[in-house]
């Protein structure tokens, strides 16, 4: 993945998360690359990218984390993962991706994003297969907050 892409995603996910959680402490774990199929913790919000590049951004967290974050963002305790909670998590994914894409636009990379899709369930796995059945390499940005851990999983590649 082009190094120019990395920082906008790391920076905006960190900043947006900190902001929506009311300025709590957000710690960034070590970034790493992965190209194998990986389990999803329970709730995954996915935003697709298309244009000069192709790829996707996936926000992965446990159900508890998702509920905590949704509760915090809405300013009320949500007892279950209902429509409001789902919409909130989708919006969070949208916020972060959109801001990152805006930043990349300023750097001269043009691409669009799809509306977020949300997946909830147990024992889910994200396949590592790309369009041509090759393994996609993803950058993992772990973000640790007092509400739980979110993993931002970015896989972008240039069209060749």
């Amino acid at each position: 993945m082009r190094v120019e892409y990395i920082n906008p995603f790391v920076e905006t996910s960190y900043r947006v998360l900190k902001e929506v959680l009311g300025g709590t402490d957000v710690k960034r774990g070590d970034l790493y690359l992965k190209s194998t199929a990986m389990p999803v913790m329970g709730v995954a919000a996915l935003v697709g990218l298309a244009g000069d590049v192709e790829g996707r951004v996936l926000f992965d967290m446990t159900m508890d984390t998702a509920l905590n974050i949704a509760s915090r963002m809405n300013g009320e305790k949500l007892p279950e993962f209902d429509d409001l909670a789902k919409a909130t998590i989708s919006e969070l994914a949208n916020l972060i991706t959109a801001q990152a894409v805006t930043k990349l636009h300023e750097l001269g990379f043009k691409f669009d994003l799809t509306p977020p899709a949300l997946f909830v369930g147990q024992k889910m796995e994200i396949a590592a297969l790309g369009g041509t059945s090759e393994n996609v390499e993803a950058l993992i940005v772990p973000l640790i907050t007092e509400y739980g851990k979110i993993e931002v999983n970015v896989a972008i590649r240039e069209r060749t």
Binding site: R2, I6, E158
Partner: protein
Amino acid sequence: MEAENMIAESQQVTATEEDSQYKKDSITVIDFKMVTFSLSGKDYAIDIMNVKEIAKAGRFTYVPNTLPFVLGVYNLRGDIIPILDLRLFFNITVPEHTDNKLENLLILSVGEQTFGVVVDKIDKVVGVQKSKIQPPHPLFGDINIKYIYGVVEAYKRLYILLDIAKIFNSRVAGEDKNRKLVKQVFTQDSISSAVAQIAAKLPEQARGSESDAAVVNPQAAQKNAAAVNKASEQELKFIAESLKNYRKFSVTPLNEEWARSRFASWKEERGGGNTQLQNENDADLYLKTFWSSCSGTWWTKELADAVFKLLPDNTAKQITVWNPGCGKGPETYSLACIMQRRYPGSKIRIYAQDTDLLSVSNAPLLSVPQDIAGGWLSSYLSKKANGEYTFTQEIKDSIMFEYHDCMNTNALPVIDLIFARDLLSLLDEKGQNAVIGDFGEKMKGNGTVIIGENEKLPSSVGFVENAVGTLRAYSKK
């Protein structure tokens, strides 16, 4: 419906007439015959030894859930054979046809299997001289070049000779041996004998020091030497293990030659009994002689000129370079400058990749230290307002730095030059093989691979060495 056999004989008569004409033009020994045909107006050919017959047929029996280019099966006089459409296989547009129209079929036999392939038009049988067949040139589009055996000219037309064995992915034993187009520098035998020589030399050296003491009893000396040999083999194994632990350096056939000769000099440096690597410092000391000149840092003028000389002529509009393991980037920039000088008319595109996030993130903004900026790089530099030297926009634009692990899938276009000095040795053996495989897959037929000065690609992977000075370069067989 029974296939209507169109025996190539009538066509061959005309072909032989032309053949004799052709023979007069230039004295040609015809030792290779091929059946020619066209796909969307372009001329292709297949070795006649693979062609069983020519037929016209249609209305193939569709088989569900097969690959898109499989049209179905067909009953050829009692044998059920699969029918493939070469145009679909190569992503060439298929002309529309009515249901009843018969297709031109080439019945091929590859190994023990028989296939039918559908082509646009079957032309004739053409005889050529085998040595006139040239390796595939990457300019020929439409078809992935790995399926092309070569290109040959006959009757002022260029025929693209398809590699049927590759297309049908079958291993036809024995036949491959005759298929080498370019003369090999090393044959398998010469390599193994060279290795054997080296292997033989090493124990001799080990024996040399020992035999002085034990000269009285030759039998004992021999026994001793064997024991010493075994012991040092063991020591070398331990060292290899430590190198892997401390510095992720894998001793494999790729660098074994170096590792062995280094072991001999290491023993001299350290003296007996103290050869093991205790910590990372020891590992670094051991590896000191491994690194290529200017590895990971700015190139000297000598190295730059050597690389310049090594680069082959290339008139392509865009020249693509793959530089895995670029680290902080000085080598990549040096290479970019040399590429710019070597191919002024072409657009250079360098894919520089590393797994060290910090190094590679800073690489696009790298500035050149004062003492280097005065040297050969000076004409590619511009001075910023704060007095720092950076590369010109043209150089910067030619490089794309990526955070990428080359052991994962490499999504790259076809490559002219692969520059990977001292990288492969830092991957484990499986990774090395995968990456070397990718080298072959991604590189154009006329491309070049440059690896570390103390590295050596195994002869079995389809590359031939053409070293210039200390630089180790390889091209495709």
